[in-house]
């Protein structure tokens, strides 16, 4: 389904702000699988997602989606195949437009947009039908501007919009990080419902080990722009939050050893 082949990306190369975000990431995601990506801050987990989404073009490597080489596709062109939910609940919706207008924009994802009427009367019924299961009473407020809704409501709608037409791949970028625990929980439940309903292939970046352990069938752990662990199948099922945390500690310890070794070598030989 999705093949990421040895991608590299360095931001601001040659300057003081140089960041080696991705350093040779390869992985293959099968159709229908739900992959959680975890890692420390700056490990490259969001960069990996953004590389797939097309926010930037990688310096090296290839991204193949459903046998299509999308490495050089601009963001809007890939959008035809991707559903996206962002960390900031306000990024995924247009605040000055009504809920119905936002939904109609999402329902046309990746299609050409001509001079047809944007919201014919006939689609309002369908909008109501699909918004109702959110249990947020938004179905009667379709004419309200999006900006009047809470972050949780907007994130729930973004999720609904991202999956309105079944995407080949759903990208969730820490989509509950900015929500309070209760709302986050609701959005997580909704995510599971949406993904299960259409069996959508999903990549979810998360900071929550709990989410990574509870959801999906695969965990990728990233560090310093590389995938350092990959758990699938029974390995993934056996994995507990504590196991993940101790893996993080291990990585950190290794790094410290490397640093102190380097220091020692420096003292003795330079």
């Amino acid at each position: 389904m999705l093949k990421i082949i040895n991608i590299y990306k360095t931001f601001n190369p040659g300057t003081a702000n140089q960041v080696k975000a991705l350093q040779g990431v390869s992985c293959e995601v099968e159709e229908g699988s739900f992959v959680a990506i975890v890692g420390t801050n700056g490990s490259g987990k969001s960069s990996l997602l953004n590389a797939v989404a097309g926010t930037f073009i990688p310096d090296l490597g290839k991204i193949i989606l459903d046998r299509m080489d999308i490495t050089k596709f601009p963001e809007y062109k890939r959008a035809k195949h991707l559903g996206r939910v962002f960390q900031n609940p306000f990024t995924g919706t247009a605040p000055d437009m009504t809920i119905a207008e936002n939904l109609t924009l999402a329902s046309k994802r990746g299609q050409s947009r001509g001079l047809g009427w944007a919201i014919p009367k006939s689609v309002l019924k369908e909008f109501q039908k699909r918004v109702k299961p959110l249990n947020m009473r938004l179905e009667d407020r379709l004419e309200n501007p999006m900006g009047k809704l809470s972050g949780g409501q907007r994130q729930a709608l973004t999720l609904l919009m991202a999956s309105w037409q079944k995407p080949k791949l759903l990208l969730l970028d820490e989509h509950t990080a900015a929500l309070d625990p209760k709302t986050a929980n609701k959005v997580i439940q909704l995510t599971e419902k949406v993904v299960e309903k259409d069996n959508i292939t999903t990549l979810m970046v998360t900071h929550s080990m709990q989410q990574a352990v509870n959801m999906g069938n695969r965990i990728l752990m990233m560090h310093n722009g590389k995938i350092v662990y990959d758990f699938e199948g029974d390995d993934k099922k056996r994995l507990k939050v504590n196991d993940l945390l101790s893996l993080f500690d291990e990585i950190r310890r290794k790094e410290q050893i490397n640093l102190s070794t380097a220091e020692m070598l420096e003292k003795n030989y330079i």
């Binding site: 989404a53 601009p74 963001e75 809007y76 062109k77 959008a79 035809k80 991707l82 996206r84 962002f86 990024t91 995924g92 919706t93 247009a94 605040p95 000055d96 437009m97 207008e101 936002n102 109609t104 924009l105 999402a106 046309k108 994802r109 990746g110 299609q111 947009r113 001509g114 001079l115 047809g116 009427w117 944007a118 919201i119 919009m161 991202a162």
Partner: protein, 308 residues
């Protein structure tokens, strides 16, 4: 009375400028300075072609096309070449000054004895009511021809505004509005935002050029200087319109821009009548826009402090 009718007519003509400014400033949140060049471009194209003997309707349509291209170039500079929006507008505006001189061949083109759209409107007035020369409105006498011209312009503006309104309610128009509202979101929904910005600025400047074309025909001349201050003028109209009809729906906002343009023109006419020095017009317009821009923030501040 003639003054009043004249002011309303010019206000109506400039309401196309206001709607154009509304599209760039409010829908796309793009501070577009191309305006100053494109309104003159519209006037220059229409006037020159009419003098050359082209049918005024075709000349007016070509004026729209000229503004469309100019706005498209600004959009192209901004999106493809990543030039700051303000600077892109300034570049095109500056270049248009030369273009306008070339189009007109000199700095001023009079339309004294040429047939313009306005001439058609006046002829139509004679055709319908051949014997009436003046009309009595509430005790004031007004030239019948002026009234007809006003009515025709009103109908034209209403038609164009309805087309614009309907356009922004289509799938394409909705995608354009979303581009101004949340670019990241609409990109993620598969819209080429660069194309939307180019197209939006093209439509905006097309309308502004159309405004210039009507203005040249109504005033009877095109002048290379006529665009000066028009950005602020358009913005002032939009702001007055928003104050008149609070920011609600698209339809109200477009109506507001038109009403704002007429009201602003009337205010200016009254001020001039009262003896304001015409040289002060631009500075007073600028001050007005400045006050209108800071007002909402000031009011909120007062409200929070509980003063009013």
């Amino acid at each position: 009375m003639t003054l009043l009718i004249g002011s309303i007519t010019i206000g109506l003509i400039l309401s196309l400028l206001a709607v154009g400014s509304y599209i760039s400033f409010r829908i796309f949140k793009f501070p577009d300075l191309t305006t100053e060049g494109s309104i003159t471009l519209g006037a220059a194209i229409a006037a020159s072609l009419i003098v050359y003997g082209v049918h005024p309707l075709i000349a007016t349509i070509l004026a729209f096309a000229g503004g469309f291209v100019a706005g498209g170039i600004t959009g192209l500079l901004h999106t493809k070449f990543k030039i700051n929006g303000l600077l892109a507008g300034i570049l095109v505006m500056t270049a248009l000054y030369s273009v306008n001189l070339h189009v007109m061949g000199r700095s001023n083109v009079p339309l004294l004895s040429d047939i313009t759209l306005i001439t058609y409107f006046e002829q139509f007035a004679d055709f319908i009511t051949p014997n009436i020369e003046s009309i009595n409105i509430l005790g004031w006498t007004a030239s019948e021809k002026d009234i007809y011209v006003l009515l025709f312009i009103l109908i034209t503006i209403i038609l164009i505004s309805i087309i614009i309104y309907l356009f922004f309610k289509t799938n394409l128009g909705t995608a354009m509005r979303a581009t101004g509202d949340n670019q990241q979101m609409i990109k993620a929904l598969g819209v080429n935002t660069n194309l939307m910005i180019i197209l939006g600025l093209a439509i905006s400047n097309g309308l502004i050029a159309l405004s210039g074309a009507f203005l040249a025909q109504y005033q009877g001349f095109a002048d290379v200087q006529m665009g000066i201050g028009m950005v602020v003028w358009g913005l002032a109209s939009v702001i007055i319109g928003e104050a008149l009809l609070s920011k609600k729906s698209l339809g109200l906002l477009i109506t507001g821009a038109i009403m704002g343009s007429i009201l602003f023109r009337l205010l200016v006419a009254i001020a001039l009548r009262w003896g304001m020095n015409p040289n002060d017009l631009k500075i007073i317009t600028a001050l007005f826009v400045f006050i209108a821009l800071i007002m909402p923030g000031m009011l909120n501040k007062f409200k929070r402090k509980g003063i009013c």
